[in-house]
Symmetry: C2
Subunit: 119 residues, 2 copies
């Protein structure tokens, strides 16, 4: 996919075998972790230049702008890249629910931690 992403940024990305980096989405006002999306170079370019969080859908194999159908828009406040280039921290103003289920965040299935030194 041809993209206009700044080559200096593109050179720092460390992608999955299918060309994606993980985008952690955090709510600006609360600090809550809302969801994880996936971005290829072009999705990152669109996110940075439009101020609207844009992802690559692994299931549908297409770009999607968060909120385009649901109205649950994400206005981008800031984007930070991590030290090894495989993850982004996208801070947004979230309109409505982040999760397609209607929940505030996508992380609503607790897994049992059964062992260890829990201080």
């Amino acid at each position: 996919m041809k993209t206009d992403l700044d080559p200096a940024i593109a050179a720092r990305l460390k992608r999955t075998p299918d060309g994606l980096v993980a985008a952690i989405v955090r709510e600006h006002d609360t600090g809550d972790v809302l969801m994880l999306g996936w971005m290829d170079d072009e999705a990152l370019h669109r996110t940075l230049t439009t101020g609207r969080a844009t992802y690559w859908s692994r299931s549908r194999q297409e770009y999607w702008v968060k909120g385009a159908t649901s109205g649950h828009h994400q206005y981008v406040k800031s984007v930070a890249l991590d030290c090894d280039g495989d993850a982004l921290l996208v801070t947004v103003e979230q309109v409505g629910a982040a999760c397609h289920t209607g929940e505030h965040t996508c992380f609503h299935t607790e897994l049992p931690v059964t062992g260890g030194e829990r201080r």
Copy 2:
């Protein structure tokens, strides 16, 4: 890789082409997003049953227990799976710096957001 991960959990995971889910690591006390790691089924199993955050290193192609060499341990408080099974939110007590650079978090490169309706 043979694993003893609960098959009911394994059945919910949606992995990258190389068999991994993204693990977002959040600090319990502050809510800060510290880093992103990768887990295959066995790394998740070890994390849940030992209470110590354990990842799969994509660069070294091996398991690593956070803090094993640095002393910067992560004691796991909770683990939540997201709605589509491709991401985990791991809440930890972090000892020392989360990033190998010595920074508190791994997200220390701000990217320019140049466009859009920033409210």
